[in-house]
């Protein structure tokens, strides 16, 4: 049995220690907002925050999570996350939407550490997150939009 801190709640999980956090969330805890895309940290659909750092949950085993604070799309909150999600709404970023939990978490982490990112900063922070529908232009616009709203 492992004990995890997910979205501020302490949760007990009965799973093999090598089980990736992604499947602990989706399969053991029924939290399906975090998505499976590749299983090799290549697409970013499974992005969560671990101690505030955007992390690919598909390659992060349960055994590595003791004492860490995990934040998923279900629990992400605060001024920056709200600004990001409001910008996503305002610009209508999603198409199919499958990658967007990961995009929102990656963007929130970017704006938390860098409140006024340049296009080059966005390239660096967001290029690990694939969007097969091609919403990149709107993701970029929404990040700038969120940055502006946080400035105000």
């Amino acid at each position: 049995m492992a004990t995890l801190d997910i979205n501020g709640k302490v949760v007990d999980v009965e799973a093999a220690p090598d089980t990736p956090l992604l499947w602990v969330l989706r399969d053991h805890l029924g939290m399906t907002g975090t998505k499976f895309g590749c299983g090799m940290a290549l697409c970013g659909a499974c992005t969560v925050h671990i101690d505030g750092t955007p992390t690919r949950s598909c390659i992060t085993p349960l055994a590595a999570l003791a004492g860490k604070k995990i934040t998923t799309i279900e629990g992400v909150s605060g001024k920056v996350a709200q600004a990001v999600q409001a910008a996503w709404d305002h610009i209508d970023v999603p198409q199919c939407g499958y990658c967007q939990s990961g995009q929102v978490l990656a963007a929130t982490a970017l704006l938390t550490s860098n409140p006024k990112p340049s296009d080059a900063d966005i390239d660096v922070a967001m290029s690990g997150n694939l969007c097969r529908c091609g919403t990149y232009q709107r993701i970029r616009a929404a990040i700038h939009d969120a940055a502006k709203s946080l400035e105000a």
Binding site: W88, C96, G97, L130, C133
Partner: protein, 716 residues
């Protein structure tokens, strides 16, 4: 006002819903399970409804098309809302089940594809909204004993002077009225929502991880399956040693379904690890010797056949003989995977009650058929619950994974089983976009005008596999698109197609043959322009005298992109132009060479005439996203086979464009006409030829293969 004569549209009926409220739907002709339900129960069949108005004012669109990002939920809701006089954000969307009444008239089956959802629904759903509005107004007029013409329907309510009733209050009375014989549809000039900016109804859920995709569905007592499929597509299991897998804690069963062996376990991770512990002996079948060189040779050899004529006029052979200048070229495209971000998956339950399927699918009707075939349950007892689709692009027109889930679930009756493919499974078991071979000949007269165009296209047919019988006289309509609708007026023209199978199953890939034909034809037109010593825009415009809409988008794209202006060293532009799905477009690609010699795609400038743009911001989104799909099919991605095995596996060796590679995408919308064109696939096919033509302008290298990386080009 446009008056729709309902006597010619007897299928559009109104009826009362059990428990009150108004339902407008296509209730005739009824077939299948719902027909039986109707026969045994005189009450109206709610499942056939397009619109449901409940006494509590909830207005629901039963959406018969599947949402995969292309915005059908909001775009179709807009059609209803406009005529019903309610704000679209008050409309709830519910996904329709399988029923013949939901057949797509443009495609002949209950399919979401072919950029047809809005075109098919354009009249149908506005009539459904207008019918409901007409009855609600009539109910109010009856109650108030005032003329119908003096009542106003607005914002979900009917009013007359100071009298006011909401649709919910009127719905039950309205449902008791006879169906209106005449309904009036609004004139486009009176639209208050269609053609205006609206937010997508599904954005907030998708930005918060709350949208439920097929992979997210759960059912009580659900278990998981992971399926090891034959490394060669089409191969079969000979024998399996499952002793190690079965000994692993949490494993429930191991099931041989023919094309592979599935492990069923309490949890996904257990199922996947146990699957890796299987030892399977395969009959690889005839596909085991296939590779790309063989496919290419088969296509080139196949192209020697006469094939079937797509379009022909004048005397192309004579015109070529007498032409002042002749140009020949061969173009080739490689296999492509769809790579939807949500891998194939399906939740299936086989029980005494029947077979239930929860899945992301573009083809619920096909899902029902394959689930019935593989579970042994009669189709009438197979229920399909379509979910949000995490990327379709044509992959989810195929229903193989749904059949597999049904076959696996059959082994554990009463237990819901969720099958999830790994990314590697998904990459290696796709229905790939077919490889193709194109041979072209052109003739130019002494003045530099194009007088002869001879085109032959050889590729495998998706349609012959999926919808046998649709191909007539060697013409598969999903291979001729992008050719049969060529906009250029050329005095002597012959276009032919050869259906040449090459031993690998193929599938529809966003924009289907438009992308294949456009790459060859628009590249070749550029070659002809240069051979004629003409500017590529002027050369095309000269062939578009009878095509004012096409001419307009071409001129506009050129103008917006600054075509013809002197560019800085190391920069170049290419152009391409076509009509597809009833939508006209032209595209200019701006590219540059980086210091390391790589090519960077700087900007894509589209001019698009979509007819009526029902939801303009999402028309833009479809072009923006289509551009990225176009880049996938242009730059580096391809599927290769060695000994029949797909060599690519995941996103490191099947690369999709990322944020840092994004060009700027400018889209100019030029709506015209009185009906919408298709939009979901339009952004895709011109990307490759526009970029290839720009590469020629930049380097002098004419690239006739996709992906362009096959011509030793590097991309930044």
């Amino acid at each position: 006002m446009n008056t729709a004569n309902l006597s010619r549209r007897k299928f559009l009926e109104t009826s009362a819903v059990l428990g009150g409220g108004l339902v407008v739907g296509l209730t005739l002709p009824l077939r299948g399970a719902l027909a039986k339900a109707a026969a045994t129960n005189a009450k109206p069949v709610q499942a056939n409804a397009w619109v449901r108005i409940a006494p509590d004012n909830t207005i629901t669109l039963i959406c018969h098309r599947n949402e995969m990002g292309q915005d059908v939920h909001t775009s179709l809701a807009l059609l209803i809302a406009e005529e019903l006089e309610v704000d679209v954000d008050k409309v709830k969307v519910e996904q329709a089940p399988v029923d013949p009444v939901y057949v797509n008239a443009l495609l002949g089956a209950q399919i979401t594809g072919g950029s047809s959802s809005v075109r098919d629904a354009w009249t149908k759903l506005r009539e459904a909204g207008a019918t409901a509005r007409t009855q609600l107004v009539a109910a109010a007029a009856n109650e108030w004993k005032v003329p119908v013409a003096d009542c106003v329907a607005k914002d979900g309510a009917v009013s007359h002077g100071n009298k006011h009733k909401t649709y919910g209050e009127l719905a039950t009375a309205a449902a008791k009225l006879p169906a209106p014989t005449n309904i009036a549809l609004k004139k486009p000039a009176d639209f208050t929502q269609i053609g205006k900016h609206q937010h997508r109804l599904d954005t907030p859920a998708k930005a918060r991880g709350k949208a439920i995709f097929g992979i997210d569905v759960t059912q009580p007592g659900m278990v998981h399956a992971s399926l090891e499929q034959c490394p060669v597509i089409g191969g079969k299991v000979l024998s399996v040693d499952d002793s190690k897998a079965k000994a692993m804690p949490g494993v429930r069963a191991v099931v041989n379904i023919g094309e592979g062996v599935a492990v069923i376990a309490d949890h996904y991770w257990t199922a996947k690890k146990a699957r890796e512990a299987l030892t399977i002996t395969w009959d690889y079948g005839p596909g085991a010797s296939l590779d790309n060189a063989k496919i290419e040779a088969t296509l080139k050899e196949g192209a020697k056949q006469d094939g079937s004529v797509i379009r022909q006029h004048g005397d192309v052979d004579a015109a070529l003989k007498s032409a002042a200048k002749k140009v020949d070229a061969e173009y080739r495209l490689q296999l492509l995977a769809h790579a939807t971000l949500e891998p194939m998956n399906c939740l299936a339950l086989v029980s005494d009650a029947g077979c239930d399927i929860w899945a992301s699918t573009q083809f619920p009707q096909g899902a029902q058929g394959v689930a019935a075939a593989r579970s042994g349950v009669p189709a009438a007892k197979v229920r399909i619950f379509p979910q949000f689709i995490g990327g379709g692009f044509g992959r989810r027109l195929d229903v193989d994974f749904i059949g597999q889930a049904a076959a696996i679930a059959k082994a554990v009756p009463g237990t819901p089983v969720k099958l999830i493919w790994t990314r590697e499974d998904d990459t290696r078991n796709d229905f790939y976009r077919p490889a193709s071979y194109h041979a072209l000949r052109g003739g130019i007269d002494a003045k530099g005008a194009l007088v002869a165009f001879d085109y032959k296209f050889a590729s495998a047919s998706v349609t012959n596999r999926m919808f046998p019988g649709v191909t007539k006289n060697g013409l598969d309509p999903l291979m001729t698109e992008g050719a049969i609708d060529l906009t250029y007026d050329i005095a002597n023209e012959r276009q032919r197609v050869v259906i040449q199978e090459f031993g690998l199953r193929v599938g529809y890939w966003r924009s289907v043959s438009h992308a294949l034909n456009a790459f060859a034809i628009e590249g070749f037109i550029d070659e002809l322009a240069h051979a004629a010593g003409k500017d590529p825009v002027a050369f095309r415009l000269a062939l578009l005298g009878k095509q004012p809409r096409q001419q307009a988008v071409l001129e506009r794209a050129a103008k917006e992109a600054g075509w013809g202006q002197k560019l800085a060293a190391g920069k170049a532009q290419g152009i391409a132009s076509m009509e597809s799905y009833g939508t006209h477009q032209a595209l200019v690609a701006d590219i540059s060479k980086t210091a390391s010699g790589a090519i960077r795609i700087d900007k894509l400038t589209y001019a698009v005439d979509p007819g009526i743009a029902v939801h303009p911001d999402q028309v833009l989104a479809q072009i923006q996203g289509g551009a990225v799909s176009g880049l996938i099919n242009t730059l580096t991605a391809k599927i290769t086979l060695k000994d029949g095995r797909v060599e690519q596996s995941n996103f490191h060796n099947y690369q999709l464009p990322r944020m840092n590679q994004m060009p700027k995408i400018d889209v100019v919308l030029m709506p015209s006409g009185d009906a919408p064109g298709g939009m979901g696939e339009v952004g895709v096919p011109l990307v490759a030829p526009a970029i290839a033509n720009a590469v020629f302008a930049l380097t002098g290298q004419r690239v006739r293969t996709l992906p362009l990386a096959d011509a030793k080009l590097m991309f930044a």
